[in-house]
Amino acid sequence: KTTGLLKVFEAININFQRIFAQLSIHGEAELQLENPKKPFEGGLNIKARPKDKKVLRLESLSGGEKSLTALAFIFAIQQYQPSPFYLLDEVDMFLDGVNAQLVAENVKANSTTAQFVMVSLRHATLKQADHIYGVTMQSNGITDVVGHVNLSDVGKEGHITRGAG
């Protein structure tokens, strides 16, 4: 049982370090077991060193840095057990434009070998997608799907200005 956990930990940690470096341009991060000899008696720490800074525990990073780190952890798990289909619902909401773009580019690169559906309000993300669907609420409380939408149809407000085909 302990060897099983350690094997999973090693593999996911390797993925995590690689993915965090991709998403944070020159940052470093790693997973650490509190008690490597008896892993079930301790927790799992995440240490991250954003570019130009000292190593910090997850708790003292900024809001955006924390969510980027958590996302790298999720991607590391996904790559350990690959699936043909992924759904990501507003995972970019805490990120600034540069980080949102890095995440979207990472998803785009992975979408050649698996199908990704991503819910997002951010232009930086919509720009990378192969297809964009618009969803709006009609006045009777029923959701209406507006099919293939061009990025130019999506206003700053996230509203679909013109229904496309």
């Binding site: 799992l44 619902d89 997608a129 969803v135």
Partner: protein, 171 residues
């Protein structure tokens, strides 16, 4: 193998028969707050059969049935079908297309009672068969391939022990 369509009928805010086509690659869904984006994710999870209805933001399964909004009659059932392209036979069913359907119906005799039906390509099935078919495809309601709204915040604020438990679950 990829998801080709989702058919929604009276599922949450989808109070009309709606067919959502999907292509391989990267699809983004956008729209205003409360317009129904996350309900699409919930529809996928509904078919995959998560262990609890809390994951679908519903107190009980019948909360998933279209409630009529501000001026229509509430529906008596909700139905979702996931249509997969199975030409590569990753799902162990000998068919180019696999349709997984889940239906929840309020009992006509007693509003508090409901029936839950599962179908594979139109023939009656059950959650256990869904589990087996989807396990082959590595698509599961409990895995991290479906990241719901708020999961990121949850991971950031969970305790170190809970974070380690994520790895226990994978081992």
């Amino acid at each position: 193998m990829h998801l080709v369509e989702i058919h929604l009928e009276n599922f949450k805010s989808f109070g009309r028969k709606t067919i959502l086509p999907f292509e391989p690659g990267f699809t983004a869904i956008t729209g205003p707050n409360g317009s129904g984006k996350s309900n699409i994710g919930d529809a996928i999870l509904f078919v995959l059969g998560p262990k609890s209805s809390k994951a679908l933001r519903a107190g009980k399964l019948t909360d998933l049935i279209y409630n009529g909004g501000n001026n229509r009659k509430p529906a008596s059932y909700c139905k979702v079908t996931l249509v997969f392209d199975n030409k590569d036979r990753i799902i162990p069913i000998d068919d180019d297309v696999v349709r997984l359907t889940r239906l929840v119906k309020i009992s006509p005799a007693d509003k508090e009672q409901y029936y839950s039906y599962f179908y594979v390509n139109g023939r009656s099935s059950n959650l256990a068969e869904f589990d087996t078919l989807l396990a082959h495809a590595r698509i599961s309601a409990e895995g991290y391939n479906l990241v719901q709204q708020g999961d990121i915040t949850r991971i950031v604020s969970m305790s170190k022990i809970d974070r380690r438990r994520i790895l226990d679950g994978i081992a």
